[in-house]
Symmetry: C2
Amino acid sequence: MMAAAWANQYDIKTRIIDKNNARIGRGQADGLQARTLEIFDSFGVAEGVWKQGFHDIEICTWLARGDEGIYRSQRVLSQKAGISRFTQTCINQAIIEQTFVDLLAIDGRLHVERNVLPENLSFERSHLGIQNVYPINVEVRHLQRHRTSPLKNGTREGQKSHIQIKSDEDADAANEQANGDTEATEKINAKYLLACDGAHSWTRRQLGLPMEGEQTDYVWGVMDIVPLSNFPDIRQACAIHSATAGSILNVPREDRLNRLYIQLGLEDNSNNRAQITPRTMIKAAQKIMAPYTIDFKYCDWWSLYKIGQRISPKFSGANRIFLAGDAVHTHSPKLGQGMNVSMQDAYNIGWKLGAVINGTAKPDVLATYETERRQVALNLLKADREIARFYSRDSEKKQNGADTEIPDFGRIREKMHEFLAGIGITYASSILVAGVVDDNAAAVFANGHSGMHKSVIAKPALAFNIKLGARIPSYKILNQAEARPVQLADLLKSDGRWRILVFAGDIKDSVQSTRIKELGSALAAPDSILHTYTPTHKPIDAVIEVLTIHSSPRTEVSLFDFPDIFHPYHEELGWDYWKVFVDDKAYHDDDCGNAYEKLGVSRLEGCLVVCRPDQHVGYTGALEDIKDMERFFEAILIPRV
Amino acid sequence: MMAAAWANQYDIKTRIIDKNNARIGRGQADGLQARTLEIFDSFGVAEGVWKQGFHDIEICTWLARGDEGIYRSQRVLSQKAGISRFTQTCINQAIIEQTFVDLLAIDGRLHVERNVLPENLSFERSHLGIQNVYPINVEVRHLQRHRTSPLKNGTREGQKSHIQIKSDEDADAANEQANGDTEATEKINAKYLLACDGAHSWTRRQLGLPMEGEQTDYVWGVMDIVPLSNFPDIRQACAIHSATAGSILNVPREDRLNRLYIQLGLEDNSNNRAQITPRTMIKAAQKIMAPYTIDFKYCDWWSLYKIGQRISPKFSGANRIFLAGDAVHTHSPKLGQGMNVSMQDAYNIGWKLGAVINGTAKPDVLATYETERRQVALNLLKADREIARFYSRDSEKKQNGADTEIPDFGRIREKMHEFLAGIGITYASSILVAGVVDDNAAAVFANGHSGMHKSVIAKPALAFNIKLGARIPSYKILNQAEARPVQLADLLKSDGRWRILVFAGDIKDSVQSTRIKELGSALAAPDSILHTYTPTHKPIDAVIEVLTIHSSPRTEVSLFDFPDIFHPYHEELGWDYWKVFVDDKAYHDDDCGNAYEKLGVSRLEGCLVVCRPDQHVGYTGALEDIKDMERFFEAILIPRV
């Protein structure tokens, strides 16, 4: 659905197929990182989720005190203050999915085709390097509605037993009635294929890619209940570690729900699985949480799972077929990362596919999907192994219960807090992220690949809190013409555009004013990047948008002190008043007026920052570095014909 | 639509009829006060409007400098900082209307019946005093669709010439086909009637009520355009006063629109009206704004109007038929108040009708509609006359152009800023607002009417920034169980409930803890107000909700330190974690932790505050004043049977 949101923005021809006959109704993932909410916000859909979800602000650790039961040993911040305008939020995956269903429904162009089962995948290798051919062939079967069912209470993604495939004879009636009494098959030819088909990915198996890593044999229970409890921290996220009865991760949720992950202390086998019910799970929880009580009368969903950390060696087939999410990495749910990293996989490949297919970007950019996202998955697996140590003592390792051996939960989270929030994700130097000259320069380039900007060197010191390869932080600035406060991020919508952020500095200074005028002339020139990469008949900001943020007092300058190209004129719509902003104090919001300081940009001299369509920073330079910026774009974008 | 929102909340049987065949599409009113947005927010619909609308933050005054054209003479804040979480917002009335259409569509129970024209109104006077009869009879005609048309570009509300009434013979086919080829008539019997039928109100005329006041003969033009202009303040609200060419009020809007109110310097007669087009209007604007340029290629809507201040002597007929909005008060659009005061009329009568019809409140409360809202209308007319002086010099009074004679625009607005924001509206002592003992006590009571709480005296000094009769200010507090910041106003949704806000003070203090326990016992007693006024089989918070805000450090107390009645237990849903809050610092929001100070409540001792269903404060007392609070409710609510 995340990739579909991009496909919708780029207006590319897209089909979305799902073998299930309905979307998820309950259960599944429920943790959203701050970064994921930022991404939602870039599509304009964060607010409903943010309001309805539980805000995971504090996490409490409870440990055992001898035989006297548990006590609160630690209260840590779920996320360090100031790193995002959102905090970790817990809400049902079904609501997330509905949010994107609703988003697509606004334009009404794309929708999920349900009851469509892929049966055969082939691609013409000789065509792989050629653009504008359709080398991928997928044969799909349009299932009869009664043959599939939505994921039920307690079932898990990828259990194929829910789908009873009939014999091939039925396929004869192909193309007659897609959803009627007979089952049609269909051949879909595609330029690109993105598979988000879960831990048992059919597509990954077609590509012959294994999942590499380890899996424990101990089974955990997970349940969504409305708790009846006198536990004082029931409405806070808690890691609870009893002396001998095992561990619980308690995650409050929307409405009155709580998600409990409960260590059941059983090996995974069919005998054990058959014994486990919500009742046996709550009994285990009662032992762990004693002397506090917990029970339920309403259980919304429950399931069982094993902990493992596994990853696919490749995330793509020939940069034509891409795999995302659980299809290429699986891990425990303990860090609330799964849904996030998976959606962010799709967020990463989505804009690249959009730009390549619509002809603005070179196919070279597609290779960065694997290099950027596989590294994130490796980091996630490492983090997951580390946090697993906190929970998995006792029952799984059969050690004794001395508190001293338990890893410090707070310190583990503290160490990885930027990663957990998704804010810390920093893509290495590549065609999409300029290089830097520093002590580790060799290492930086060693991670790169063909097409990397060996020759384009950024100057991150000009914006020392804006990290190359990371998403740009957002602070509030004011619209010059309207005095209205706005988050910088609100200007960086996921609409497929690159942005040049012109931190113009103090244009009341005559030298600075001259620098800005020269930059304006360069950008307005007939051979400028704006004119080179913008298709004829499209607005000048269609591919690369120039946004200006200056630092002069707002009331002492006017829009007309800036070059026209910074606020382009349209003959029917007049001047564009929504491209020039100022870092100044606001009348009704104490939180404005220090964006330059927070971003580490000189209030006098400013700088240039290039943001990719996904808000990650590709280039930082001085106002004069327009040639370097040109070379940066030259490696990525295709000139208009 | 505002009243319908209430009718939906109270689940009362309601019909909404409109003679027009479509809702407004463009033009009309466009200014929303902060208070109106607060009310929208209480129904959960502020956000879309707040995001899409123009935020009117600064207002600039431009005056003439001899013959050299205009200059910016003043830059004033549209609204003083800190008085509301919203600021004045400008957005098309059509979007407002759609917002409420969408709100009603969520439940789907109420909708506007269009093409329905009222033709006869009668009521049985002998039944007026009897509850549960239907003394009002309205005969309506279901018009054929082609006989009505939506308000067109340049037409104004109330121009009946758009509706061609056929002869009465057609009425014979009544009840056959409401919207078919024949025109049906229908008799509607009602307990209550609310008329929001505009300046030419048919209902007001049926009641024989005149509009009293004055009307000038000078005609103004109003137009919505996308401006092509080099005027530096085009995206700010501006009052522009030229030397001899007249005045303009410029109001930026959603999308790229601007609303211009232009003084045309013409007397209102059919000859002059016929001459005026958008082109003549923009020419007048060009003269006023010289040396700056203004023009348009796109005009969204335009109209003409005369300034007048008129009011009906009564807002109700026998407290069975109520009139709201333009039906009982008209004035100029210069203060952006019309849509607000009108919607707030309906907001005021809406909950009262809801509570009387659903049987929780005594019919006596209905008389407060006229006393509360007519005073607001009188204040509005006074303010409108005052601001009119700024605009109406020159052309209308033919005086010379010396700047010194122009009233100081900023000072006028400054003086009335709380009124303009809607925040200052304070209802006098009545059955719904307890009395106070102070130097003006006699005056307060003189304004009262039968049913007034002569014997219930509030203690506003215990919360000296919470004004009896005004809406309670909102600041951020934290949920005790979840640590999540929330606006106090978010707890005061327009769902028909009264709220007792228990400012519990510091319950770590043993004396205070005892006071709270005693209050809890009194509220939990079988004969408490909660039990007396809550219908059997309804939740204990269905009519009066108790919300607690304490001032102890959040992490040093727990929900279980408060009496059960403050967080009631439900046998399937467990404890209610969303009724106890704390005024403490937040991790991610610097704006928390000073609500007690801002509200003027002692952090140690706290107090009780009763909020009406419309968030206006009815009573303030000490934690022991439960008897006074009981008497307050006794005058208003009906005990369960």
